[in-house]
């Protein structure tokens, strides 16, 4: 399997938690926001997005709520929970440590 896709799969939860933490949001907006912020690098399929959102909700990290919008349509907005904030903080810290350690290893050594 594609390495980039594997990386995205392993970090989808952290990315989704971060976006929901920025502001309460819904599925379509999450897809768009991920694409925009990553300059098109992250393209999440619906078959990945909704199961991931539901898994986070089942684990009590986010909370979904149906809300009406202007044209009578309804959208399911997701809100981060206190437990979700805590998990996000841990994941971001782990990722930053990992990223720093990875960069330190692959950078050419300066003598």
């Amino acid at each position: 399997m594609n390495y980039g896709r594997e990386l995205l799969k392993g970090n989808t939860d952290a990315l989704l938690l971060h976006l929901v933490n920025c502001q309460p949001t819904y599925g379509y907006q999450i897809v768009k926001e991920l694409e925009r912020r990553s300059n098109g690098y992250f393209q999440l399929r619906e078959g990945t997005l909704y199961p991931a959102l539901h898994r986070l909700e089942n684990n009590g990290l986010i909370q979904g709520s149906w809300e009406p919008i202007s044209n009578g349509q309804q959208r399911r907005y997701y809100y981060i929970t206190p437990k979700g904030k805590q998990v996000l903080a841990n994941r971001l810290a782990t990722w930053q440590d990992f990223s720093a350690a990875f960069s330190a290893v692959v950078q050419p050594e300066t003598t």
Partner: protein, 301 residues
Amino acid sequence: MASSIGHYLDSFKASLGLDLAIAEGVARELRAHFEDRRRELKESGLSEDEANRIAVESLGAPELVAHEVYDTHAQGTWQAAVCAGLPHLLFALLFASYHWQNVFCLATILTATVGLAVHGWQRGRPVWLFPWLGYYLIPVIAAGILLVHLPQGWGWIAALVYAPMALFVIFHLVTQSARRDWLYASLMLAPMPVFSSWLVRLGNGNALPADSAWLATVQAEVPWIVVSFVVLAVATVSFVRAKPRWHKVLSVFIPPVVISIAVVVTGPGCVDYWGSLMLLLPVLAFTAPFWLQSRIEFAHS
């Protein structure tokens, strides 16, 4: 690929095999996603038909999305698991407390079973409902067996009238359950082979024994009857809590078959034709949902 959003969501729900409440919730979310995408495509200058087609296609194959969503929700909560195992435990308790001949206890359990079965059926058929439905069917079958024992041949006439009605109820429940997932129909029918194996072991085949010697035989077997229903309860809890589908398949098939074989093989006498039929029919009914769902899917396609 489904050509319209309605068709797409129907395919999605048919492939999902989860509680109707969950299926409807996810379908509603997918529809909202579709509407957003379609609006954006129309604003970019595409025609209505083109926008519809691309918005549906961008959702991905309904079967694949359903598969991913199923994996997320396949593992039931502990609450649902305990509730699903409860009818087996109640039945075990009925024997463990030696109240299985107490009409009041039987009536209470029967009323609770019917009440919970109807309640669950009306509330989106959650996974815990199916074992209760299995016990809901036992009085239907037992009444048919008892009718045969009415005096002077009237029993056979009554049974012949009753049998089509009972079969209709059973067939209706099995097909409705198999429409969602054949595993749930098999979960519902799991107590049947166990019941019939005990009936074959404790009965004398073509008559309904109720004398004191027979009652003493039943009392002597009570610990093993309790064990067999506790094993069914544990298997049911395991079924609800299991995530991989193969684990669910094993949980629903292995325990009832092993219990039935063990009950008959360790029994005192040989199994006659009537006994063989009593064993074979529930086992066939228990395995039939798999065949039935493939027929339903074939008819759909």
